[in-house]
Every structure is written in structure tokens, then in C-alpha cells.
Symmetry: C2
Subunit: 363 residues, 2 copies
């Protein structure tokens, strides 16, 4: 039982900025003199319309989304996008290229096989996804309808630090675990998607940013909710959207714009946070990172000791001390510290100090 808030290193759902939670708390019974909670608002009301538009405008400004791109608020998580992307985009040539650098990119590839021919553009499975293949190693089919990759691999702790060059083949990117962590040149992409529950909002909304011309050619028997054209036409309100999640996303975007200074400033903080842990790991005699230094994720820092027992003991003691969710994913074991935007630098430093103390006791 904790009387105070703890440092939550969960890979997702994960920490939200404290000012966001405080504002959500304040408005719970009566948002802005409306006499009701945001959870109670008709999605067609002017009150909610203002929240919706503000959220979208802030995202567009933060990510500098060009005019020819739509911003959609959908449901079903990134996993639903694993189907929607091929259902909507594969029809052009009947095939697509997939970069396999972890669990979710591989799942996306497997799902897409239901809808066309999927080509493996690269795979890091040979070294248990501890690295990101270089541009020269990518095999991009020139007839692919799109090239799909996952920008940050939550489970393995790797991140693409470059944007693949694919010529005329549109880039499709799953940014679920690093969206809003740094500036991104949206114009390089055909479609970006991200489940909200890591860097954006509570689980339940999926943000899709797509170049408008890519939608509209889904087969006729596509389920209406899986057709991007449905949502573009109705501005994400074909049916009731996940209003509360969109509201909290708006608060997070406001926090990023007005308190953190935008994505450039946020990137610097994220780089500093990651450096605190990686520098310690590279010097530690107990803990080590197993990821190639150049491909390390700033969002998810994976590490381990030489002993699975000691790993478990560390995660347990850390949890009791208020550093929660440090146990690594079952696919890789060890530990994982997720340092999304809302994790303060102080939390990372406190974790590093806790690790150093643990090291002293066990080396």
C-alpha cells in the first residue's frame, strides 16, 4: 500500500503526467461549467466538439502534421491496425514489405498475410531482436503497396533511429511506443498509427495519421469500421468515439505544448533520461544492457543480471520500494524500465540509485 504516487515503469498502460491527472480529477463532476463530466457528454454536443477539435489541433501542431494528412481517433488498439492497414492499402499491388524487428512487427506481418502477399524486408530474429537492421540490409520491393515497420520495439528495447528510405513505396509505421517522444517528419510517411496507452492517453483510443489519398480503395465487403474512408468522411464520429480517452489525450498534448515546450524539448529530456540508465548499465558490474548501443530504445530500457533469480529478486525489491513494473516481458526475461514522456528525470535517477545500491549488496 502506497500513500504517495510511485514511479511506474510499466511498458503500457503507463504513467500519465501528474498535471493531467489533476485536471481530470478537478473536472470529473463538472467540466468547464457544463454541469457534467466529460464521460457524460454527448459526442455531438458543442462542449465535446470543442474538446475534440482542441485535441486534434494540438496533435497537428505538436507533430507538424501537413494539411494533406488526416488525424483519426479510432478504437481497437494497434492490433486492429495490423488488419486495417493491409485491408485498406494492400489492394494497390497485392503485396507489401514488412520489417521484422520484434514481437509486434511480426504479429502485424502474420495478420497481413490474410489480405495479400507479405514480403520480409529484413529480420533481426537471428540475434533475438537485439538490433535494428541498417538501411543497406533492407530489401524493399519496388512493387510493394507499402513498407511496414515498428519504430520502437517495446519488448526488446530497440528503436529505429533512422527513417527507412523506400523510394516511392509509402512508409507505414507503428509508433505505439515512441509517438510524441521526439519530432518526426510526418511527410515521410504514408500512414502512422499508435495505440495511446504508452505516450498519449489511457488505453482505448488509437491515433491514425494518414495521407488522405491512401484511403478510399478498400474492397467493398470491408467491415464499415475497418475502412479508413468511413472515419475520414465522418471526422472519426461515424459512431461514438472513445470520448474520455480523447479528452485525456488533449490534456497530455496541452501539457506537452505548454509545460514541456513541444517535442523538440521533450526529446532532449527523453535522451537525458535514457542516458542516465544506459551510462550506468555500461559501467555496472552487475547489470547489463543486451541491446546494440546504436539501436537502444529511449523508451524501453531492457537489462538483466547474470542470474534469473537475482533478476526476480531485484524486480521484487524495487517494486516494494515504489519502482513498479520492472519485470521484463516473458519473451525475454530480465528487467525493463519504460521511460515514456510522463516519467520524470527524478524517477530515472532514483531508479539508478536504487540499482547502484542493489549492485553494492550483490557484487
Amino acid at each position: 500500500m502506497f500513500n504517495e504516487r510511485i514511479y511506474n515503469f510499466s511498458a503500457g498502460p503507463s504513467m500519465l503526467p501528474l498535471p493531467v491527472l489533476q485536471e481530470a480529477q478537478r473536472s470529473m463532476l463538472n467540466w468547464n461549467g457544463s454541469g457534467m463530466s466529460v464521460m457524460e457528454m454527448s459526442h455531438r454536443s458543442s462542449a465535446f466538439a470543442s474538446i475534440f477539435q482542441d485535441t486534434k489541433d494540438r496533435l497537428r501542431r505538436l507533430m507538424q502534421v501537413p494539411e494533406e494528412y488526416e488525424i483519426l481517433f479510432l478504437q481497437g488498439g494497434a492490433t486492429t491496425q495490423f488488419s486495417m492497414v493491409p485491408m485498406n492499402l494492400m489492394g494497390r499491388t497485392g503485396k507489401a514489405s514488412y520489417a521484422l524487428t520484434g514481437n509486434f512487427s511480426t504479429k502485424a506481418y502474420e495478420e497481413a498475410q490474410k489480405f495479400g502477399q507479405c514480403l520480409v524486408a529484413c529480420s533481426s530474429a537471428d540475434k533475438n531482436h537485439t538490433y535494428i537492421p541498417a538501411q543497406e540490409a533492407l530489401s524493399v520491393d519496388r512493387d510493394a503497396s507499402y513498407f511496414h515497420y515498428c519504430a520502437n520495439n517495446t519488448i526488446y528495447g530497440t528503436e529505429w533511429h533512422y527513417v527507412p528510405e523506400t523510394g516511392n513505396v509509402p512508409l507505414v509505421c507503428d509508433m505505439s511506443s515512441n509517438i510524441l517522444s521526439k519530432p518526426v517528419d510526418v511527410s515521410k510517411y504514408g500512414l502512422i498509427y499508435a495505440g495511446a496507452q504508452k505516450n498519449m492517453a489511457p488505453a482505448g483510443v488509437t491515433v491514425v495519421i494518414l495521407r488522405r489519398d491512401l484511403a478510399g480503395s478498400a474492397p467493398e465487403n470491408t467491415p464499415v469500421m475497418l475502412d479508413y474512408a468511413t472515419h475520414i468522411k465522418k471526422d472519426s464520429m461515424y459512431n461514438t468515439p472513445p470520448c474520455w480517452c480523447i479528452y485525456v489525450l488533449g490534456l497530455v498534448a496541452k501539457w506537452l505544448e505548454e509545460e514541456m515546450g513541444g517535442l523538440g524539448a521533450m526529446e532532449k529530456v527523453n535522451a537525458e533520461k535514457a542516458a542516465v540508465l544506459y551510462e550506468y548499465l555500461d559501467e555496472s558490474r552487475l547489470f547489463r544492457s543486451s541491446v546494440v548501443p546504436a539501436d537502444r530504445s529511449r523508451m524501453n530500457v531492457t537489462f538483466r543480471t547474470e542470474s534469473a533469480e537475482l533478476d526476480a529478486q531485484f524486480a521484487k525489491e524495487a517494486g516494494e520500494a515504489g519502482f513498479s513494473n520492472l519485470k521484463g516481458h516473458r519473451l525475454v526475461g530480465g528487467m525493463r524500465a519504460s521511460l515514456y514522456n510522463a516519467m520524470p528525470l527524478a524517477g530515472v535517477k532514483a531508479l539508478r540509485n536504487f540499482m547502484a545500491d542493489f549492485e553494492k549488496e550483490h557484487i
Copy 2:
């Protein structure tokens, strides 16, 4: 600008019980000593697992859901079920029967045509959906994979007060706007679905209750998230579920069980609330209900004056007096007062009094 909470007659999203909002507010920064908000919890954590299980258990008790039925928490709203139902169930015979009693049942019918042959079991379109066809008027195809109907027609203000007899044809029911408003014999149904945002929780979770044997025969190329078997196998956690909505749904279910005395007691309150308005409407010289008395909805009371201008004036003045969202749906005009579970009897009486005062001024 309202300093106090108002009576919100929105058709959905709509009012939540005050104790539910207060509890959500209290737990916002630290749920039950976890040191975090429910919005920040890993869906795999023991804290969230307890919330998830409690919500499911309460729903099962409240609705007396038999053991052979699964309770699923999905995303995408009832509209996604318009596709999932035929994709998963139509394969048995290739056709299904649909009762057309309003906007959403007709949309469900239209969507299902993508996946098989859809037969019209009945339609109330001849009288602009102001009534519910009787059992004798239903044409149930004995080879239909299922019979689909919408239990309450939010826009038109009609409600099925009987359960269709369909022999061996499984009943599929969209209960989005009257679920939890009264006891239901779940064993009569093959599948029940409901978007949460009227009687259950904020928009963003869809509850599906289905007989387990009906799942598992979707075609192989069904999108993974649209296959009921995916969600049954993983207990609604194939990917991250809409955790916050599930949490609030649990609070609503707790309120129903512990404060309102269950669905039988809730039904009595709902009947009383509806009677307050319908009795007034039947006596009023200004307002009238246009729905056949026997088929009137207890959830959505539609009414109008003889003049569209006066309707607009009434809705405007009522809104300013703290009775919000009384404007009828654009398809039917007039007014609509939605009296879901969370609307207190006092709110309905206050509305009736406001209407009576308005009547005195305008008759």
C-alpha cells in the same frame, strides 16, 4: 455556465451515477494504495486484474449470466458488432433474419449484407418506426443462422417488451440502450451486445455476452480482432483492453448491486420514471408522444408539440434551465428525454414540472 450538476437527458453518452463519478474522482491519483491511477495500470498487473474480474463477476451476477456464456469487453461500439455478428455467425447457413425497427437495426442489416444473405423478418418503417411488430408479424426463416433485433430504438423511442420466439434460431440482440435497465433472461439469447455509453460506462467499451459454442467458426481470413474466438481465448486481453471504461463499468455495476438493489429494483424505478413523463404527455394539451402506448420505450421518451418552432424554443429554454440535450434526433425532430438508470426520479419530475409550466405559457 452551471455551478452545479445538471439533469442531462442525452441519448448517449449520458449521465453516470454521482457516486460513480465521486469514486472515480477520489481514486484518480492513487487507486486503492496502488500509487497510480487506474488509467496508468498495466492491464497485466494484479491490481487491474482484480478490477477486471470484479467487473465481470458483478455483471454476471446482475444479469444472471449462465455459465456457458462468455462476457467480453471489446472496442469499436455496437457498429463493430454489426460486422462481427455476421462474420462470426452467418457461416452456419449463409443467411440471417433481421427485424428492422429503427435506425440502428437497419444499419446492422445493411452491414450484414456484406457477409451473407439477409432476410427482413419484419419492418416498422411503414409507420416511421413508431411501433414494434408483434410476434405474429415476425417472419423467422428456419434456416437463418440467427435472428437479429435491437431491443430499444433510441431515436424513435420504442422498445421490445417481449422476447421474440424464434425456435431453434439463435437470438442476437443489440441491447445498447436498455441493457441493465431491467432483468433479462440471458438463456433465451445466443448473443447480446451493447455499447457502454448509455447505461453502463463511458464510451469506449462494448460488452458482448455470447453462448460459447457460437464462436470459433469465423472464416480464416477474419481480422484477428473481429473474431470472437480471439477474445474468448484471451479473456478480452488479446491486446490492451479499454481499462478505464471497464473500471467505470465496474463502479456502475457496484452501484446497481449495492445501492439500487439489482436489476429488478432498477426496473421498478425506470418504470416509475417513464410513467411520470408518459402520463403527463397523455394529458398534455401541448405535448404528445407519437409512439404506440404498448411499445413505448422506458429509456427514451420522444415527444413533440404541433410546431417545430415551439419544439426548438422548448429545447432551448429547457437547456438554459439545466435540462440538457432534449432536442430530438434529426431523423425525427421534436424532443427526446433519455431516462437511463443514472437519471434520478427527481430529474424526471423536475422536467415534467418544467414542461407543465411551459405548457401553461403556450396554450
